[in-house]
Amino acid sequence: MRLGIDIGSTTIKCALFDDNEKLIYNSYQRHSSQIKERLSELLNIIHTEYKVNETYLAISGSAGMGTSERLGIEFIQEVYATRHAANHFLDKPDCIIELGGEDAKILFLSNGLEVRMNGTCAGGTGAFIDQMAQLLNMDVEAMNEAAKNYQKLYNIASRCGVFAKSDIQPLINQGALKEDLAASIYYSVVNQTVGGLAQGRKIDGRVVYLGGPLTFNSELRKAFDNTLKLEGICPENSLYYVAMGTALLANEKVALKDLLDKLDHLKAFKNYYSLKPLFNNEAEYEEFKKRHAENAVKIHDSQNIKGDVYLGVDAGSTTLKLVIINKDKEILYSSYRSNKGNTLDLVKNELISLYQNNPKMHIVSSCVTGYGEELIKNAMGLDYGLVETQAHLKAALKFMPNVDFIIDIGGQDIKCFKIKNGNLDNLFLNEACSSGCGSFLQTFATALGYDIDSFAKLGLFAKNPVDLGSRCTVFMNSSVKQAQKDGATIEDISAGLSISVIKNALYKVIRTTNLEELGTHIITQGGTFLNDAVLRAFEIELGIDVTRPNISGLMGAYGSALYALDNVPSATKIVSLKDLLEFKNTTKQVNCGLCNNHCQLTINDFGGGKRYISGNRCDRPIFKRSDHKVLNIYDYKRSLLESYKPKDSKRNITIGLPMALNMYELLPFWYTFFSELGFKVVNSGRSSLDKYHHSQNSIPSDTVCFPAKLTHAHIDTLIDEKIPYIFYPCLTYNVKEKDTDNSYNCPVVAYYPEVIEANLKRLKEEKITFIYDHFSLANPKTLGPKLYECLKRYFADLTLKEVKEAVKKAFIEYYAYLKKIEDYGQKIIKEANEHNAEIIVLCGRPYHIDPIINHGIDRLIAGFGIYVISEDALHTDYDHSKLEVLNQWTYHSRLYSAAHYIKDKKNMDLVQLVSFGCGVDAITTDEIRAILEGHDKIYTQLKIDEITNLGAVKIRLRSLLAALGKEKDHE
């Protein structure tokens, strides 16, 4: 007998062979983290029903490692087991794609064995599909069914689950079709697997699909087939390959009776760092509950609402909150429910039942806030839309006029506000990457087989809460796995997760090191704080008592209602019951063609000519106009770069420059240099996501920044155009800025050409001459001779003199280009000052002008009527010795300079674009924040990646504007 047991992150599988290698028993079930119990049941079945006393036995799987150690059973690595089973049972497989609960693997079997496993960052796959199905309010089978009828695909971030989630949520809120989303989710899994794991190696031949997700989801297999342009097979027992391989590889015989005894006697053990319990006893908990019951706004249990009332709606990312108040600010009606991916219908039904149950009720004013603000406002004719931060502030002030700090943890986002004199003083929002929010707890509760309420309650009296750190969900999955391995109970994990939510907010989002600076009057709100364990964890971490209003989950809606009460219009525009009953909404997806962003627009048609368009970055698709009234230096820079067009020249040789990374600043230099030498200079033009997806399989590091990844597509473009020479030099040293310590490029910008050469096999296959030598722009004198040395290898007729001359011209053109930018900056400042308008310094790197990289944020800001300027247009002298960093990177030094430039300018504020994964910005962001806050300026950071979730960006910008606007009112 041979028995293999595969304990994955979510399931336990087994395969039992008899001595003739005939599979006589197999099973597959979710273990809900009760590994010991499930394993015991399994072994009992095999022992009693199959009468197995002694068998070869080994354990495999990511969650099996700890179990195998504790039981002293042989462990077989799961990928290794899969390979063994595949070679054993299948006819010459070439490649295996195996997706599990949280792992993704590709095994190349023929022509040189290679095994790829997702790294720590790439998110889960099976768990990811489960999460996405939940988000769509479907079960996994229904999602598979839905995907069969898709019409179009959306681009969904393929890097990790958390990103994908933030792509999908706004699409749901905008009313995109579930069929399309379901299929798009499968394709994103395909992109992630192929892009992240193939790393340049082509998947072809006989491809085999294994593991749960690929076994259960026919449409996922189809998505793989379509992408890979082949027909893969999903063999019999595709769920059991790890278990089967493990069984076959097992080396040691085990007596099952002994093993069962051992399992029974396996004591609870603890091998992890634990934290203080949340509550030591019931009495403490009772006292806590009593204290928090005191913070209450009056809630009437009205059966029949009469007279003038005010409506507040909070259309959040995962929940819908609705409140009706009277003129005394008392709540007459409230509701809090999951939006099930269809906010609009929910609001409609709520309103209908409100109207029908309360015929004598008159809504005289109404206001909506949250992600769905614009959609609901337009569809339901609400009177006001309020940015979330302002809604929450309004509600908080009602409870505590001297509030210092508000922390709101909702389903998808964390919002923290510092309040000074009743005004918003500073704002912290979570980045797309750290998702320690409500839906995060929900996800874990579901994965472990609980509903959220009972799961959180488990943690209240946990003796040894696990310290799980404070990272994004993906990391948390493996932390939980580790904790299970180390013997943590479900109670300890529950408490640990609640604590990690708090730590995430405090140390990742607010980045506080001194808890006292938050103040002593603190209000907690958002649905997540309704959870006593989370609230308690917060109080313990802070060491003070905080206030949780009785309507903690409704504060956004309540604040909106208060706003409606304060701003009653002469006649409300809210839809009537009659209109509601006839209300219909159809949605349509189109691509906007008004500019190169090609925004994917969702058009909601409410009938009667009423429409609402979303997904747009600017106003053009709505008003069909293209004139921006305010100046935007990003537009200007793009048009400047576009003016370097290829022109015929004396040599009949074309040289190609990839428009990636530093080429966004150096194009004028290299264009001039090569044009002067008589080459025809072409560049790879605008980035496109399509091209990027085609090229992403040659990216060796899935955690490098998105701008670097795009380089692969730009090189591919030049190869596609059959450009014989591509010039993309390595540049350790950039031009030197004034008073800086050095003039480095960041390592990625400096050396990405090396990565291209090492990983783009096409360069050699298509016999392209790729010139990527190392040069230094900081040494103009030697640059000429060194370039000559390099280029004469390819172009023997070049002379040193003409190369030196070309370098000179190139520098002249380069500095002229920089000067133009600076002049335009001054023009913007002058014009903005004349119009008394606000200017945002949208700063980053030269390549952040690429619309694919910045997602059109520059135009979004311009759409608010704000002038947009970039860091390279602002130079100022300041005391460099005051910097608390080593000022050694050229591009980054401009950020410090820009921050100093605006510190005393009333109408100028700074927003920093940070590409996800930029290590250097970990240093610059803190420094810029310090410079700005030292001068009472608000620092705003926008983290960007492949994701296109502009919803969060909009909220952040609007909150910044609201904060600025308020400040001006009080001047």
Partner: protein, 417 residues
Amino acid sequence: MSNKVIFDKEMAKEYTILIPMMCPIHFTLLKNVLINSKYRVELLENTGHSVVEEGLKYVHNDTCYPALLVIGQMIDALKSGKYDVHKTALIITQTGGGCRASNYIYLLRKALKKADLDFVPVISLNFSGLDSQPGFKITLNMLRKMLAALLYGDLLMDLSNQTKAYEVNDGEAMRLVDEWISKLSSLFKENKGYKAKDLEKYMVMITKDFAKIKLKRIPKVKVGIVGEIYIKYSSLGNNNLEDFLKSQDAEVRVPGIMGFILYSIYNTIEDEKLYGIKGLKTKLFKIAYRYMLNKEKMMNRIIKENSDFMVSEGFEALIEKAEKVIGLGTKMGEGWLLTGEIMELVDSGFKNVICTQPFGCLPNHIVGKGMVRKIKEYENDANIVAIDYDPSATSVNQENRIKLMLAIGKENLEKKD
């Protein structure tokens, strides 16, 4: 820099200087060199949860893991109550290259400020004259001793690694290491042990001592470790990687620190070649380079003459290997050295290589993960796995990936038999 606290000559007499731990053998020897030069020094051995916690608290969480650990370890020590914080200074290395590591000292000062410890002076340990402190001077004598310490460290680390996995009497190799650390430290105290003649003499003795260890030569999976310098050497950083590999019955090889020093010096010489920057600095670096190179050669010759141990091909061969794959201008972080070390390990029979790096390490996108495909063009049978380390990466995930590498390594080993 505005918030720099001066470490003056008076302080040097009564302050205790804390050194963060990286590789225990080398750093213990270095510590003793400093003690013998009349500084009061202590090597930090605090590890565990609170180190990471303090790091997370006081360092930007997107900063690389080594900075977080080094700074966390120092603040944790300062807060431990073990030291009079008003009589304590910190020392940190500063490389001055284009990667984030050159900013560690600034990050440390920022962290101290946040922790209300901004009165604690910080000393930069570097050899390019950055950020000097009047109370801390490296004399030529110290420098020679430090260099000797690193050479001895490399030798002890190398020979103990070559014997540890095969020793008949468990623990013998490490006992020998400890013995020699204390012997060498007392020699330094007597102002001996570091001059060329002594170096030769004691290196021969060390080699012979290790050669005496009784070994049982059974074939084992051979694993090389390369990576970002701190994570590569520090067990705090790499979750006790070497111990884990030993528990999995593998022989481990970790390239020495001399390689990194030679690389750092060589880069200035390469700058002249690539960019035509000439100057006195380059001349001095060339002298230093030749000097160091001779020391390395001496060490390798001694091992060859006095034992059957494996000897590295030396730094010049490493340059040639690296150059096949990557431009020598790639000099931020571990740069081309890392690529070269993988090539050398694979060439010398260590086909299984773990490339360790902090999560999101910028140079490693290029020189580590970025070069794997090309390395395999030359070394078809290389079995390379890149492992990321950061505060939230769990050892269960890391070990699972390493186990996969080991399983394939083991299979290849059996194929050969």
